[in-house]
Symmetry: C2
Subunit: 256 residues, 2 copies
DNA sequence: GTCTATATGGAGATAGAC
DNA sequence: GTCTATCTCCATATAGAC
């Protein structure tokens, strides 16, 4: 970490009232700073001193307000999940109602899942960008993923999967779960905006171009779900088809 | 970290020769232990003492053999990339040659990218499982992703994308790059085997069931690529279509 | 190549003044 | 609610013996 240490923390709340009429309370400043730093370097890559110094508050306030570093991390993760997910759920239900008495298009279901993220990331400020980078790291962490993702996202995801299954009648539930697994991997990496696609494409694509994502992800994923649910067929249950399509078999070692 | 500290490291190489006829050299033991621990807790979540104590070697050997902790991390990441990627590249070229004078099926191209990973993860031992969990974290890290992924995977990925483009004639390059972005997110998360899909599906799907992945991922991704390259049409260049399909527009606020 | 011993600094947490 | 001061432990790295 290369966070510059403030030399003088002696003046009373100097940074928190610098010019501005109404400074944020310390608790919120800690959440903001923690979000930014955790997103960049992960839980262990940031010290509570890094965070409190970036926030312009005293070290001891982390323990006072949150109980400890781990609880702060969980609070950072929880804060925006509680803003975002009710909106995604409401949009999902709206999509479903709009389609009655039929079922919604897969693209619309996926869009309900992703569009509120796009809006926050594109127009919600830097805090949201940091947050999505943090979610990507948590989602891919064996240590945190099964705890925090499960706790804060699974209720929404279960509803999302239920609606997907309505839109994919006759499709085995396992296909839908795997389809969601691929979706969440693609989604969280993309919203993390690591900049890798920029380098890879020689500048042709930009991580920050979420409008491109918006156009493409729902289409890509919807096609993926359809492919899983048609070609894989509704297997009896618990058994795997004995014959696979040649495309998925081990590649032939010699040309025919 | 909750790694148990060994109390006595005084005996000469006690752990490294415990019963076994030919123990691995210290350098390799450090790589193995580092791989396992970095995969679980990330770069900052593990100390060099955790690693050397798990490896049964002295702390100072990390500096001696690698130069420092960061160099060890890079070495861990590099080691298996150099085993895996030549095999993926060879398989890709074989797929391409087998299809001449035509172009390979998208499923076969994706399969060449993923099948060597499946083989290593399923039958290569615990080290490979750790490695793929590590790759997932690196891929999603703003700090490490653009450095290590670019350095060790982009040469392969560029060739992979070139072959994809042959198989998708007339498709805009940007569609292929975004399609790859979605693929790598899905792939690295899935091979990380965080166990989240197990919880989410109530045990119906298992993270460790890579055979299920093998059946589904290539199909899902190939369908996604086709959807990007047909519906999005070959736009003139640099401009975005003015009319989007209704499915991708903002969801209507009221039923019609 | 490996180990001991140590240098130097940063980690998280908290008691108690204000 | 906030800050000072401090406790205790752990971090990485390295000089030098074997």
């Amino acid at each position: 970490m290369t966070v510059v240490r403030r030399k003088t923390a002696g003046r009373k709340a100097a940074a928190s009232t610098a010019g501005r009429p109404a400074a944020k309370p310390a608790k919120e400043r800690i959440l903001d700073a923690g979000e930014q730093l955790f997103a960049r370097n992960g839980f262990y890559g940031v010290s509570v001193r890094d965070i409190t110094e970036a926030a312009g508050v005293d070290v001891a306030l982390v323990s006072y307000h949150f109980g400890g570093k781990r609880e702060l991390f969980a609070a950072v993760f929880r804060r925006r999940a509680e803003m975002l997910n009710p909106e995604r759920l409401a949009l999902l239900e709206e999509v479903r109602r709009s389609a009655l008495p039929g079922v919604p298009a897969l693209e619309d279901i996926v869009n309900a899942f992703t569009y509120p993220m796009l809006e926050r990331s594109a127009r919600g400020g830097a805090g949201w960008k940091s947050y999505f980078a943090l979610v990507a790291q948590v989602n891919n962490s064996p240590e945190w993923g099964p705890v925090l993702m499960t706790e804060h996202f699974d209720p929404l995801v279960e509803r999302f999967i239920a609606v997907l299954r309505e839109a994919l009648p006759g499709c085995d539930a396992r296909e839908v779960y795997w389809g969601y697994q691929f979706l969440t991997g693609a989604l969280t990496l993309t919203f993390a905006e690591t900049g890798r696609i920029d380098k890879l494409s020689g500048g042709l694509c930009r991580s920050s171009d979420l409008d491109s994502v918006h156009q493409r992800l729902a289409r890509y994923v919807a096609a993926g779900f359809r492919a899983l649910c048609t070609a894989a067929a509704p297997a009896p249950h618990g058994a795997r088809s004995k014959t696979r399509r040649s495309a998925l078999r081990k590649i032939p070692r010699r040309p025919p």
